[in-house]
């Protein structure tokens, strides 16, 4: 069985982290306590931040691999 590229696994991790963030936010909105909100401020935002970084990194890497970006080592050489 073929393994999916590393980028896809990274994107799946980003999706999972974003889902955890959404669930955390739901808990804060439905059952608010100051302690829960404080935890959300530190850990919830951290989850979202990491998910966003992973998304941007993986998408850029994917675009670069497909030579859709005008920079990077994968850019095809142009003949003079």
């Amino acid at each position: 069985m073929r393994q999916p590229p590393k980028r896809v696994s990274v994107l799946r991790i980003a999706v999972l982290l974003a889902a955890l963030f959404e669930l955390f936010a739901l808990v804060v909105l439905v059952r608010f306590t100051p302690i829960l909100f404080t935890l959300f401020m530190f850990f919830g935002e951290l989850l979202f931040g990491v998910a966003l970084l992973l998304l941007v990194g993986a998408v850029l890497a994917d675009l670069r691999a497909k030579q859709l970006l005008p920079w990077g080592p994968d850019q095809p050489e142009t003949s003079q």
Partner: protein, 239 residues
């Protein structure tokens, strides 16, 4: 017949926990809502926050599905951008705004049991403490604890929120001593922000004009004459 009666009884028993909050609310004075009432900003923030969070979860499921092929297609990129990038920003904004507001309420402060004597005193209509007088007469409409314990303006709010983080840390780790004491002397400016411009304050014999600079400079405290602000904690705990 007997079977039908028992069925009705079961239905009534099942309805009691659902209807009891409604019955409790009915005992309070029913002040009619203004015409066109659509809820408070906080109600909307909670409602929209929940809606966006649920929408986000659905979109994340779709984004996960779009990655099934093992390749990052343009469609998958679109789902991912919306589900991981855009919707959570909305959820974060709504949750954060709601949290900042909700943590400023009396219920928010009272969530920690160390605050119970203070909140109980506020709600005691027989109490003559300064805080209770302000609370029961609605001199401050809402967020009564936060209003008196934060300086005015954005800087005051930010400073109070950071102090609140410290309170949560000390409460969670148990690194506090009882009875609780205020961290800094209470600045008169927090009182004067409301009272200084009132005619009752300006024309009172108890506030001669020559004493006002001392009040502004915190050389004498409003609480010297108008205290205590809160009940004695040991006594309140016994009640």
């Amino acid at each position: 017949m007997a079977q039908e009666l028992s069925r009705r009884r079961v239905a009534i028993i099942a309805l009691v926990p659902i209807l009891s909050p409604v019955a409790a609310a009915a005992t309070e004075i029913a002040v009619p809502r203004p015409k066109g009432w659509i809820g408070t900003v906080n109600d909307w923030m909670v409602g929209l926050g929940i809606a966006f969070a649920v929408l986000g979860l659905v979109l994340l499921a779709l984004a996960w599905r779009s990655l099934r092929t093992g390749a990052v297609t343009p469609t998958a990129r679109g789902w991912l951008l919306v589900a991981v990038g855009l919707v959570p920003i909305m959820v974060l904004f709504l949750c954060f705004s709601y949290g900042l507001e909700a943590s400023s309420t009396v219920q928010g402060c009272g969530a920690c049991h160390t605050m119970t004597p203070f909140v109980r005193d506020l709600e005691n209509v027989k109490s003559t403490t300064l805080a209770a007088t302000h609370f029961k007469n609605r001199y401050i409409r809402e967020a009564q604890c936060f209003t008196c314990h934060s300086d005015y303006g954005l800087g005051g709010t930010v400073a109070a929120k950071f102090e609140g983080l410290g309170h949560v840390w000390r409460y969670t780790t148990g690194s506090y001593t009882v009875p609780i004491k205020i961290a800094h002397p209470f600045p008169n400016l927090r009182c004067l922000h409301c009272h200084a411009a009132s005619q009752k304050f300006l024309n009172s014999e108890g506030h001669p004009k020559e004493a006002i600079p001392d009040l502004v400079a915190n050389k004498m405290s409003c609480l010297d004459c108008h205290g205590p602000a809160h009940p004695d904690q040991k006594q309140a705990a016994r009640q």
